[in-house]
Structures are given as structure tokens and as C-alpha cells.
């Protein structure tokens, strides 16, 4: 087992366990912290795939900005175990079972997919994840969606103002 494989399995296990902990932990603050762990693990995967820029952006934007914002909101609203609404046990069970089924089906289908059988992730090769190449792709081939996504953000901002502003 090479070092890369060891790191891969470690990061994968970390991501899955952290994601589970997000769901399981009773304290919302803990959940957010676990979520930050998930983002770190995934950023590690990005680095393994030679996508450093994506890894950094993922950390800065999600773990850094958004999650910290989340954390503040939760702490300011003082959410904790007691304020969490009690859910029906059967509902939870049903949710868990059906979600599990969906997961199982999707995983098993993807495992059987002939398109990716016998294919391994290409590491260290391909430098599309590097900032220069990414920028070129973004501003040349994907310029139209890039610009149009600004409309999306603009509309979201207008919405935020409409919702958030006091009457």
C-alpha cells in the first residue's frame, strides 16, 4: 500500500465518520465543527487529485466563510439540545431506512457501472486543477455560464434584501 493510498483511505474514513457525526451529534455547534472536518477531508482529496486551487477555495469559502457564519448564527440564536424539536421515532427510522436504501442502490449501481470499471483515479497527472489552467477554462470555454451565474447571485442578493430588510 503506497503512501497515497494510505492517505486516501484515511481521508475517506475521516470524511465519512465526520459526516455521520454531523448528523448524530445533539449539539448543533458540534455538528458545524464536524462539518468543517468533512470539508477539510474533501479538500485533502482535491489535493490528491492535483486540484490545489479547488482545495484552497473549498477551505476558504466553505470551511472559512460559510461555516463560521453558520457557527455564529447558531451560537447567537443559542440553539442547543433542549430547543431541538422532538421528532417522531418512526419517522426517523423510516428516514434512515429509506435513505440507507437509496445509498445502497446508488452505490451498488455505480460499482457495477462498466464505464468506470477497471479505471483508477489519475493522480499527479493532468494539471487542469491548477489555478492558471482553471482560469483559462473558466474565462474561455465556460465564460457564458460563468457570467450567467452572476445573475443567479444577483437574484439571490435581491432576495436576501427583500427577505432580510426591516419593513
Amino acid at each position: 500500500m503506497s503512501a497515497i493510498q494510505i492517505i486516501f483511505w484515511f481521508l475517506s474514513a475521516l470524511a465519512i465518520v465526520s459526516a455521520l457525526m454531523v448528523l448524530i451529534s445533539k449539539n448543533p455547534v458540534h455538528s458545524v465543527l464536524w462539518l468543517i472536518m468533512v470539508f477539510f477531508a474533501i479538500s485533502g482529496h482535491y489535493i490528491l487529485l492535483n486540484a490545489q486551487f479547488l482545495a484552497i477555495v473549498n477551505l476558504i469559502v466553505y470551511a472559512g466563510a460559510i461555516m463560521v457564519l453558520f457557527l455564529f448564527v447558531i451560537m447567537l440564536m443559542n440553539l442547543n439540545n433542549e430547543s431541538e424539536p422532538q421528532k417522531n421515532v418512526w419517522m426517523r427510522l423510516a428516514g434512515a431506512v429509506s435513505g440507507g436504501c437509496l445509498l445502497m442502490i446508488l452505490v451498488s449501481l455505480v460499482r457495477q457501472a462498466i464505464e468506470i470499471n477497471n479505471k483508477v483515479a489519475e493522480m499527479k497527472v493532468g494539471d487542469i486543477g491548477l489555478i492558471g489552467n482553471l482560469g483559462k477554462a473558466l474565462f474561455k470555454d465556460y465564460l457564458v455560464p460563468f457570467e450567467i451565474s452572476s445573475v443567479l447571485f444577483l437574484s439571490a442578493m435581491v432576495g436576501a434584501i427583500v427577505i432580510g430588510k426591516k419593513n
Binding site: L106, L109, V110, Q112, A113, I114, E115, I116, D141, Y142, L143, V144, P145, I148, S149, V151, L152, L154, S155, A156, V158, G159, I161, V162, I163, K165, N167
Partner: protein, 460 residues
């Protein structure tokens, strides 16, 4: 391209409109003016394809189908704003922003009618959806409105997740976002799992957007909770745009979904018809009934996916127009009612004969009675299914039976208006409103007598 760029720009213009004027009527008039410009620019796009010289990298493709639908959507919005504009500005304190959001939605709609890449599909769906979440919750003091908005957002996020998963799988299978390239690379010959599974997931998320059962659950709650003016917009232009996106994707790629598609789609069609029609029967509120009826109508529009031939593309365009016009009219009248229950309509025919008469035309059209546009819309849908596939007969029969059920709840409104005594209370109804209603009703009858009036523009 004109319509996409201009609708986004007009959204910005509307945002700034509130800086310069507080007058709500002026804001509405700016919006109407903007829509006229938008319509003109879209028509211009049909005749002179290259108004903007943008290298699209084949991400968008402007064909007569999409441009024609854009025209339908813009005209519908125009009629909607003229009819209900004075009610839009009454919803809350940000009239200009509401119009801005409506223009952003239109931007999403125009993207959905011309996308050629999964990336643009995703962006279009999101640009269309996010303003809607806001509009749903725009009546901030109303708890129901807030609840509806949150529900819509949560479930919308769920469907977005599914769509992204589907797009990721398709990308994984083909290494491309472009629709034609994907089809090329994942042809039947090397029939894998990833590509069809990805398509199935996109199918599911689009089914959610057009509220096809069993992904319709958000529809009644959101349509009911949202301010009625915005329900009208959501149920018409947005919903039909969802279908256009659907048709564009699946008219190309249906065969790739494999033989099971022939089972899944009929099951969904019947489930949608069943849930929509049957549940609508028992509703007491006209608004909620209309929410279910919009599900039922979606069941008919899904027939456009069942086959892809001339009749089905013409049919979905016709259906989009017929359904939008009629629903805009019905909602326009609903907004004016003080009581949204069926009893609230009692005796409307005596107090407002013209309004009741036009409402009857709209309801008849939705029910698919001949001499209204709705009849031909349904006819094209069912005929297209029969034309390509004789074994679809049973499906058509089921659809016709459900159309018969739909007559029941549509006629309940007519019955209340004409045959029950009561004091139907309305807010004040002015001449313009009545005039637009008459125009809408005439359009419906005109298309109902000769649908080629509309369709020949498609081949222009």
C-alpha cells in the same frame, strides 16, 4: 440571447427603479414597458439571429422552438402584469424588487428554453427557482407565506441536489456537459449504468420542478401559502418553462434511457393525473383546488415526453399558451375575491357578469371543452401519444377519464357563480382589468377555434 441578456438587465433596471420613484403604479408601468422591450428583442432574435456576438461554445442554442416559447412566456407575463400588476405592488413594501425578481425568473426561463449544456440547465433551473423562493415568502407578516417559502426552499434544495448528482454521473460517463456530445459518447451500444442513471436523476429533479407525482408534495402547500399573485406566476410561466426544459432534454435522449422508460413515464403520468384530479375534488378552497389542478394539467403536459414528434412539440407549445392564459385569468379573478372558498364565488354572475363569463371561459378551457384552447391542447397531447405508439391507447383512455373527473371541480366554480345565491365580495374591479380578461377569453376562444393561428408562428 437577446432575451437572456435583456431580462437580466431589466431585472437590474427594476432594482434601481425603486431608488427613483416610490410610485407603485409608475413601477408597474416601467415593468410593462420593460416586458414590451423584452418581447420586441426576442422577436428581433427570431428574424436576426446575431444581435449579440457572443461565443457560446455551443452551450446555448437558439432554435425556433425555444424562441417561440420565449415569446409565449413573455406575452403571458405581460398579460399577467397588466392584469394583476396592481395586486403585485400591494403584496409588500418592495414592489420594484418583486418585478426585478420576476425579470430574473424570466431570465431563467429563457435560458431553459435554449440550453444545450447541462451546466446551463442547472443555472437556468436555479435562476428560475431562487427568486421564486423569495416571492413565495414575500408576504412577510403572513405565517403561511413564510412556511411555504421555507418548505419550497428545503425541497427545492433536495431536488437541486438530485439534479447535481445526475449531472455529475452524466459528466462522469461522458466527460462532457454538452447534450449532443453526451449522447454521442453514451450511445446505446455501450449501454452503461452511469449515463442512464444520471438521466434518471435529472428526470426526477425536473419532475419535481413541474410537480409531477410523486414529487408534487410541495405544490399544494407552496401554491396555497404563497401570495396569490405569485402563485399565478409560478403555476403558469414557471411551470411551463419546466416542461420546455424537460422536452428539450428528453426529446433528444429518450431512447438512451432504455426500455424501462416506457414503464416509468406512464406510471408517473397516471400518478400525476390521479393525485391532481382526485385530490382536487375534495378541496374547499378554490386556490388549493387550482394548485391540484395544476398538478393534473402537468399530467397532460407530461404526454409531450411520451413521444417526440411534430404533434408533441406543437402540442406542448399550444398547451403552454392555453394553460398559461387560462390560469392567469383565473388567478387574476381569484385575487380579486375576498373569500377564496367555493362559497366565496356564490352569486358572482349577478354582481360581475363579465368577470363570471370570462372566468367560465377559462375554466372550460382548463377542463378541455371544445371551442376553447384547452381542448386542442389536450387533443394534441393525446393525439401525439397515439400517433407514434398505438399501444398508448389505454393511457389515453385513462387520461380522458381523468379529464372527465376534472370537469367536476372546474364546474363547481361555474355552478357557484351562476346557480347559487350569494353575495360574492370582491375588491374593486376596474375597466382595464375587465378589458384584459376579455382579451384573454377571446384569445382562448380564438385558439380554440383555430389553433394554427398560434402554431403557424412557430414555423414562421
Amino acid at each position: 440571447m437577446n432575451a437572456i441578456i435583456l431580462s437580466a438587465l431589466l431585472g437590474v433596471v427594476m432594482m434601481f427603479a425603486s431608488v427613483f420613484t416610490e410610485n407603485k403604479i409608475a413601477i408597474r408601468n416601467i415593468a410593462i414597458f420593460g416586458l414590451l422591450i423584452l418581447l420586441a428583442s426576442n422577436l428581433l432574435n427570431i428574424y436576426t439571429p446575431y444581435s449579440f456576438n457572443v461565443d457560446l461554445h455551443n452551450m446555448l442554442r437558439f432554435d425556433s422552438f425555444g424562441l417561440f416559447f420565449n415569446s409565449i412566456a413573455i406575452v403571458s407575463t405581460l398579460l399577467y402584469v397588466i392584469l394583476s400588476g396592481s395586486d403585485i405592488v400591494k403584496v409588500g413594501n418592495y414592489p420594484a424588487e418583486y418585478f426585478a425578481l420576476i425579470f430574473f425568473v424570466l431570465c431563467g426561463v429563457t435560458i431553459l428554453s435554449s440550453y444545450n449544456s447541462l451546466l446551463m440547465l442547472f443555472l437556468g433551473v436555479e435562476i428560475m427557482s431562487i427568486p421564486l423562493y423569495i416571492l413565495t415568502g414575500s408576504d412577510k407578516k403572513n405565517l403561511k407565506s413564510n412556511e411555504a417559502s421555507l418548505k419550497y426552499f428545503l425541497m427545492g434544495a433536495f431536488s437541486t441536489g438530485i439534479m447535481l448528482m445526475g449531472i455529475a454521473l452524466l459528466y462522469g460517463a461522458s466527460g462532457n456537459f454538452n447534450l449532443e456530445m453526451i449522447r454521442e459518447k453514451t450511445s446505446i451500444a455501450e449501454f452503461g449504468i452511469l449515463a442512464p442513471l444520471g438521466l434518471l436523476l435529472i428526470f426526477i429533479s425536473l419532475a419535481f420542478k413541474v410537480s409531477a407525482a410523486p414529487f408534487h408534495f410541495w405544490t399544494p402547500d407552496v401554491y396555497d401559502g404563497a401570495p396569490s399573485v405569485f402563485t399565478s406566476f409560478m403555476a403558469t410561466i414557471v411551470k411551463t418553462a419546466g416542461f420546455i426544459a424537460f422536452v428539450k432534454l428528453f426529446s433528444l435522449r429518450m431512447a438512451d434511457l432504455g426500455p424501462s422508460y416506457a414503464i416509468i413515464l406512464p406510471v408517473i403520468i397516471i400518478a400525476t393525473l390521479l393525485v391532481g384530479n382526485i385530490t382536487a375534488v375534495f378541496q374547499q378552497s378554490v386556490k388549493r383546488m387550482l394548485a391540484y389542478s395544476s398538478i393534473a394539467q402537468a399530467g397532460f403536459m407530461l404526454f409531450a415526453l411520451y413521444t417526440s414528434n411534430d404533434l408533441s412539440t406543437e402540442g406542448i407549445l399550444l398547451y403552454a399558451a392555453a394553460y398559461s392564459i387560462a390560469t392567469i385569468g383565473i388567478f387574476g379573478i381569484l385575487i380579486k375575491m375576498k373569500d377564496y372558498t367555493f362559497d366565496g364565488y356564490n352569486g358572482l354572475a349577478k354582481k360581475q357578469p363579465l368577470v363570471a363569463a370570462t372566468n367560465t371561459v377559462f375554466l372550460l378551457s382548463l377542463a378541455g371543452i371544445p371551442l376553447t384552447a384547452g381542448f386542442f391542447a389536450k387533443y394534441y397531447m393525446l393525439a401525439s401519444a397515439l400517433k407514434s405508439n398505438g399501444s398508448a391507447l389505454w393511457l389515453v383512455i385513462v387520461a380522458v377519464l381523468f379529464a372527465a373527473v376534472s370537469v367536476y371541480y372546474y364546474f363547481r366554480v361555474i355552478q357557484a357563480m351562476y346557480f347559487k345565491d350569494g353575495d360574492a365580495e370582491t375588491t374593486e374591479i376596474d375597466g382595464t382589468f375587465k378589458f384584459v380578461l376579455v382579451v384573454l377569453a377571446l384569445l382562448i376562444i380564438l385558439i380554440g377555434i383555430n389553433p394554427s393561428i398560434l402554431l403557424r408562428w412557430y414555423y414562421f
